[in-house]
């Protein structure tokens, strides 16, 4: 092959430059996601550092009173307690229901039932959370008040927690279902061959084999519940409380404040500035660290305990 023919096979300089340019632009788009993460960390860190230069970190982590606007008390424990209450309630609602739905959809439901139920359940996660908050406040609370022999406040943790539970059901069910349906059929058939019933196969073979995926879905869903904002702001009220101890039910019937609703309350305060504004970022940092840890944990569980079938 002569030199001349070689050059005709080469793309000309402009074309090569153009290809490089596009590649660079697209890489820039991908790199922007790193910038977003750095932006979040810088934003949170900046506010948090300024906050802890004025409020001691010990006072923040061990303080039992959160009253930033009126008294300048910045104890995070009441907010953590509120977050815990909401998360526990939502877990009680969502974890069993979500797992049952996953087992039902993958082991029992006919394809036709599945094709109707799956999109319907996806809608549960797609409904705007502000609507859930409104639903919890205006419809769920009066309903609970009628049904349960407890004295509910207008704003209470139970109705908000139940609504948060509804939001995270599809998360539990879809991730668990993925894990369950990736259990190979050979395991099921082997169990049937040993004389197991469908109940035995589901509870003693399939669910144990999918444990890592199920646990990971639980952790992810709880992380989502911790970060849920609008439902809690609207339906759980904005009064931070330390947990009621011997009288546990009071935790459910009373108004609580979570980390997220604490952030929203400060954001809504008239001309928030200085230490108040920074408190918002400190809470944001707390929330970010909490949810990120749980998300990483979920991924680690999924990887570490995943059974390899292939």
């Amino acid at each position: 092959m002569s030199d001349r023919e070689m050059t005709t096979l080469q793309r000309d300089g402009v074309a090569v430059t153009k290809e490089r340019l596009y590649r660079l632009l697209l890489a820039g788009c991908a790199a922007l996601t790193l910038a977003v993460t750095s932006g979040i960390i810088i934003a949170l860190l900046g506010g948090t550092v300024s906050f802890f230069s004025e409020v001691s970190i010990v006072a923040y982590l061990t303080g039992t009173e959160w009253s930033p606007v009126i008294n300048g008390k910045f104890g995070v424990l009441p907010l953590l307690s509120g977050t815990l209450v909401i998360t526990v309630v939502s877990a009680v609602v969502a974890l069993p229901i979500g797992l049952s739905i996953a087992v039902y959809l993958s082991e029992y439901a006919t394809p036709k039932v599945r094709s109707v139920l799956k999109p319907a359940l996806e809608i549960l996660a797609a409904i705007p959370t502000v609507v859930y908050g409104y639903f919890a406040l205006v419809y769920v609370t009066p309903f609970l008040d009628d049904v349960l022999p407890l004295d509910f406040g207008t704003f209470n943790a139970l109705s908000a927690g139940v609504a948060v539970g509804l939001v995270i059901i599809p998360m539990v069910s879809s991730i668990s279902e993925d894990a369950i349906s990736s259990v190979p059929d050979s395991l099921r058939n082997a169990a049937y061959g040993l004389g197991s019933t469908k109940f035995d196969v589901s509870t003693k073979v399939v669910v144990p084999a999918a444990t890592s995926g199920i646990v990971s879905s639980y952790v992810l869903a709880l992380s989502r519940a911790i970060g849920e904002t609008m439902i809690v702001v609207i339906a759980a009220g904005l009064s931070p409380k330390m947990p009621f101890f011997p009288d546990v039910l009071k935790n459910l019937t009373n108004s609580v404040q979570t980390i997220t609703s604490g952030i929203v309350q400060v954001a809504g305060a008239e001309n928030a500035s200085g230490v108040l504004l920074n408190a918002m970022f400190a809470l944001g940092m707390t929330l970010f660290v909490l949810t990120l840890t749980m998300n990483i944990l979920a991924e680690a569980v999924r990887r570490r305990y995943r059974e390899e079938y292939s």
């Binding site: 890489a27 932006g39 549960l124 609507v131 908050g133 409104y134 929203v264 809504g268 970022f281 949810t291």
Partner: protein, 547 residues
């Protein structure tokens, strides 16, 4: 007992016990699933009931609408479902009619709130340079430079429009609004329809179509002026709704031999509602006690008179914020997905970087939305405290439409990237290899082969992301967008507003008519938007998965 039976196996009772256990277990599973579904139904029924008030309606009202609406559409649906051609025509017809109706509302509202003069200046001046580039491309028969030159020329056009703005505005402000609507809405629609008809039939028909759309629009405007009505809305309706609907209907009618009755679907629905409403008024039947009225859609918010309260500013705000967000975020998201799927190698430091980016994106998807609000606040308030002068120099504040759009854009970025990645991954490698084999470069392969294949998947992800963004409230509260707004935002640099914020602000209103009336109706609008978007996404996904 026979010798061959296992003596330890007590068949009867053990089997019965296990059978019962299995049945109970299945019952529990079904019950849990039903709890999820029932919660969903309860939410829709309770909120819908308060918003629409069907309990107040007379029995004859239900009978009336059964006769005019439910019966004809049910019969029609049964007919259409049996005929595959008619059913696909029906789908197209529904998409055209209701798509263009929604489109016309969005176009009118956006152009009206951004001011027709501004839109006209940016559109006309801004499209001059891209038009030149395209003309050059046409003349030279495709040049290396036109691809990269197009976005640059758009940017250049917008910047020059900004510079020329003060000089043009005195001249253009004497022109009536409706003429500007003709320029910015009818012009592009007529040209687009003309090109569509040209590609399907002939250049002559194309020209006729364009002229017909323009003529019909001007004629309607003329009639509106003689009647003393503002012609702007009729201009938009005729060009955005009547034009496309007529073209698609005629095109389908001439192309298809059978199943033409599929075109009737949307008209049966609209006709049933109109006839029902007319008869309801004529016969004086007690109708729904609904809060979902034109007043709600068209009025501004009123804090003290629920029957006068409207959510027009909030609707316009939501449309503007989410639309701007789409423009800012979707190209970046798809670009990132293209890089990660098509360019990033799997080995070497670049490969490790790509893996890190993937992990980072999935972590970003799990960051609570309030945290994005804090990011937006830090970004647009004082630029992380690093350069507090920067946002001010750019004319940015956290409560503006553009800042709200950017904040939501960062929030949905992971969703767009992940769904686009999935769509790109599902394009078979043979197509890429085939394209490379024909001598196409990587970018040519992506643009001409991979992207067109992946479009339905990417579109599905975008629609779901839009649905998520429309209901997002917390980040907007954090960046300080006003929760109650009395006037619509004036363009992209105006103060933002959004429908979910008003629901948030009024959910606990002490006046019960707000709590269980206006807010319920606003929630129904939000829920309906979400449902329409989700079902469109599912329809697109099913349609292309089957093909």
């Amino acid at each position: 007992m026979a010798a061959e039976t296992d003596p330890t196996f007590d068949g009867g009772s053990e089997l019965r016990r296990r059978k019962l256990l299995g049945q109970v277990f299945e019952g529990v599973l079904v019950a849990s699933t039903l709890v999820g579904v029932l919660a969903l139904v309860a939410l829709f029924v309770l909120i819908g009931n308060d918003a629409l008030g069907p309990a107040e309606a007379d029995a004859s009202w239900f009978l009336l609408y059964f006769v005019t609406l439910v019966a004809p559409t049910s019969v029609y649906t049964l007919l259409v479902r049996r005929d595959e051609v008619a059913s696909s025509i029906n789908g197209l017809s529904f998409a055209t009619v209701f798509g263009s109706l929604i489109g016309s509302a969005v176009v009118y509202v956006v152009v009206d709130s951004v001011r027709p003069h501004d839109v006209a200046i940016y559109l006309v001046v801004g499209s001059l340079f891209p038009a030149l580039v395209l003309a050059y491309n046409r003349i030279t028969g495709g040049s290396h430079y036109t691809g990269p030159a197009l976005p640059v020329s758009i940017l250049f056009g917008l910047v020059s429009a900004r510079i020329l703005y003060p000089f043009i505005i005195p001249v253009i402000s004497i022109v009536a609004d409706w003429i500007l609507f003709v320029v910015v809405v009818t012009g592009p629609v007529a040209a687009g329809l003309g090109l569509f008809v040209t590609s399907r039939w002939s250049r002559r028909y194309g020209a006729v179509t364009a002229v017909a759309v323009l003529g019909a629009t001007l004629a309607t405007a003329g009639v509106a002026i003689t009647q003393g009505i503002d012609p702007a809305l009729s201009v938009v309706l005729v060009s955005v709704v009547a034009g496309p609907v007529a073209v698609v209907s005629l095109d389908t009618f001439k192309r298809r031999e059978t199943g033409r009755y599929g075109l009737l679907g949307p008209w049966l629905l609209i006709g049933g509602i109109v006839a029902g409403a007319w008869l309801e008024r004529q016969l004086g039947i007690e109708g729904l006690e609904t809060w979902l009225t034109p007043t709600l859609l068209l009025n501004s918010w009123s804090s003290f008179r629920p029957e006068q309260a409207g959510i027009y500013p909030q609707l316009v705000g939501s449309v503007l914020v989410v639309g701007t967000m789409a423009v800012l975020s979707f190209p970046v998201g798809v670009g990132a997905a293209i890089y990660l799927e098509e360019y990033a190698p799997s080995t070497g430091w670049r490969g490790r970087l790509a893996t890190a980016l993937d992990v980072n994106i999935s972590n970003l998807a799990g960051v609570p939305s309030v945290v994005y609000g804090l990011l937006g606040l830090a970004l647009f308030q004082n630029f992380f405290g690093v350069a507090p002068w920067l946002p001010r120099a750019l004319g940015l504040k956290p409560s503006l439409v553009i800042a709200a759009a950017a904040t939501l854009g960062l929030l949905i970025l992971p969703i767009v990237i992940v769904s686009s990645q999935e769509a790109l991954r599902s394009v078979p490698d043979e197509l890429r290899q085939g394209s490379y084999g024909l001598g196409a470069s990587r970018w040519q392969t992506i643009r001409n082969v991979v992207l067109p294949e992946a479009v339905p998947g990417i579109l599905t992800g975008m629609i779901l992301a839009l649905g998520r963004a429309i209901g997002e409230t917390a980040p907007l509260v954090i960046i300080g967008v006003a929760t109650t707004t009395y006037s619509a935002p004036e363009g992209v640099f105006g103060s933002a507003a959004a429908l979910p914020l008003q629901i948030f602000a009024s959910a606990a209103n002490s006046i019960p008519e707000y709590r269980t009336g206006v807010v319920a109706a606003a929630s129904v609008i939000l829920l309906a938007t979400m449902l329409i978007m989700n079902s469109t996404a599912i329809l697109i996904r099913n349609r292309y998965e089957n093909n």
